[in-house]
Subunit: 345 residues, 2 copies
């Protein structure tokens, strides 16, 4: 089959690789119909060392079940399913807590062992726990929005849920990428009153306004912090959703959070150490939360909202390309010419 | 009056200083009847630079109101009051949120401008918002427990509340000092099922068991983490209450916290930067919270529990000395010969 491999920074190609096969009786094989490029795919695109064997890429997918392991009971061949970026058994102690990304039998896609979604076919481990069936007959026009339930929209939702967004809260969203815009939409859904989107790309922040942002702050650093404080009566925001992952975004977050407020991170931190002492978090009783989105735990609740048109998170896709043009998809996203590119393998 | 001044590391003396006076119409002056030495007083005791003018010490007090500013309406001369370690107006946006330590008109005791409690008299700023009256006729035997409501018990309580301790949760308390033991008692009050106290001083951990600890782990570092994991079925604890403030305690905290769990810090961090990335907090969706205890926000609720004997947090005091022997009090606590020393000025 054709699959996307990254051979080093900036070097993404479609290659012919072996088809995935059932390895464990809990596996399923799907034919990928919809995949996409994630903002986090750009991290290796910037800094992956030379990898002669190629790193499989992609962790968001919708596909059709082609083959099932002997132990899979909830899926049928021919089902169209959403596959979250992390697989999980749905039964372990952490899955029962809703922390599906820490499943004891779980893991993440786009590794050599697990395969990846920017490809024609995918092995889905723990298929019963992982895949969610889309009702037969669902209109093709809903697929982009359904695809966002594999990662980007529910990552924004995770930020908002872990941050404790609720009616009447003031929320700052840092980052106008697809995750940041998803966080705006999720915060709106959860009843946030004031939603301040920090970003400087007008085409993106315009979509942010349509998703529910009440204010846009283009300034960064101290200026950006001052602007948010001004918009919140000098008090700061109850909740800050950090959808970038770089240190300046984190610094912005603790600068704008209200005493007693919460910073919720879903941008994968590109740092390990950060300020957490008296001068940053501790002194104002700020809470730091977030992590890899527990997409699977939210998926069944979110599905009907997409199917009935309550939310349209697929609007983050502004381009669509065939798998063979995956390199162009990465280029478009890296250069910010595209917000998020949908791929049809 | 006589007051405690610290002139440098290890150098604590009682000196004759001017009596405090009403500065703002919202002030009260109290005659301090009960004060004590806090674990956090040991930080400057270890590292205060030479301070020829002396630094006033102490931030926990019970006292009798001697004089009131013109705007104070809720107190009367002769009232016996508890004074929390931070003063607050009780009316600003942050006080209304319960984050009284971030009060816009508030501040902390033991600074030159605000005075300190290891002294015969104290100026209490924002007296209406700050001081809480102890009912007339309260038995003297309850005073040690009531004194803990100015800081140490309610700091443990703050850790437990911010950490989300509730029925059925597993809790690890790091530190067997007076705050750690208070955190055990508070966690027990909030319904924690398993309470694992990490500490190695048997006389202290014995009191911890009486306060509600179900297990004691004396091991530290990797060994201590392994022991806690063993006690929690390999899963880690829902809530970790960190009552030390040094980096090894923080490292222990993220080592033992369960995926999706919460680390709540009340030990004043003696560091600004710490691990918060994928390998420590983010990867397992751990939450980091805590800060200076919002004692005042809990005080009215805790008072009846002490008065009716439900809790006896004053058991953390194992020594009592007159003000003139304050240097000995510091020495006893620093050498760990005493857990916490009550001072009678």
């Amino acid at each position: 089959m054709r699959a996307t491999l990254m051979y080093g920074a900036g070097d993404v190609r479609v290659a012919e690789v072996a088809d995935p096969t059932i390895v464990e009786p809990t596996d399923a094989i799907i034919r990928v119909t919809h995949a996409c490029v994630c903002g986090s795919d750009l991290h290796p695109y910037h800094d992956l060392e030379a990898t002669p064997e190629g790193r499989p890429m992609g962790h968001e997918a919708i596909g059709v079940v082609e083959e099932l392991g002997a132990d899979v009971t909830t899926l049928s061949v021919g089902d169209t399913v959403i596959v979250p970026f992390a697989f999980s058994d749905g039964t372990c102690a952490f899955c029962r807590d809703g922390i599906t990304t820490s499943c004891v039998h779980g893991g993440f896609f786009d590794a050599l062992e697990t395969g990846a979604t920017q490809a024609e076919r995918l092995r889905v481990p723990q298929a019963d726990g992982t895949a969610v069936v889309i009702p037969a007959g669902t209109d093709e026009s809903l697929m982009p929005s359904l695809l966002t339930l594999s990662d980007v929209y529910l990552t924004g939702h995770h930020a908002a849920v872990r941050g404790g967004v609720e009616a009447g809260r003031s929320v700052v969203v840092i980052g106008d990428g697809a995750v940041g815009l998803s966080a705006v939409l999720a915060a709106k859904q959860l009843g946030a009153e004031t939603i301040i989107l920090m970003g400087r790309h007008a085409s993106r922040t315009d979509l942010g306004r349509e998703f529910g942002a009440t204010h846009v702050v283009a300034e960064r650093g101290e200026e950006g912090i001052a602007k948010v404080l001004e918009l919140t009566g000098g008090e700061g925001a109850h909740v800050v959703l950090e959808a970038v992952g770089h240190m300046p975004a984190y610094e912005q977050a603790y600068g704008v959070v209200r005493p007693g407020g919460t910073i919720s991170r879903v941008g994968v931190p590109q740092y390990e150490e950060a300020p957490v002492g008296f001068a940053s978090l501790f002194g104002k009783n700020a809470t730091l939360t977030g992590g890899p989105a527990t997409v699977r735990a939210y998926l069944e609740q979110a599905l009907p909202l997409v199917l009935d048109g309550t939310i349209e998170p697929g609007r983050v896709f502004d381009r669509e390309l065939p798998l063979d043009e995956i390199a162009e998809a990465y280029r478009l996203m890296d250069s910010r010419e595209a917000l998020k590119v949908l791929i049809r393998p």
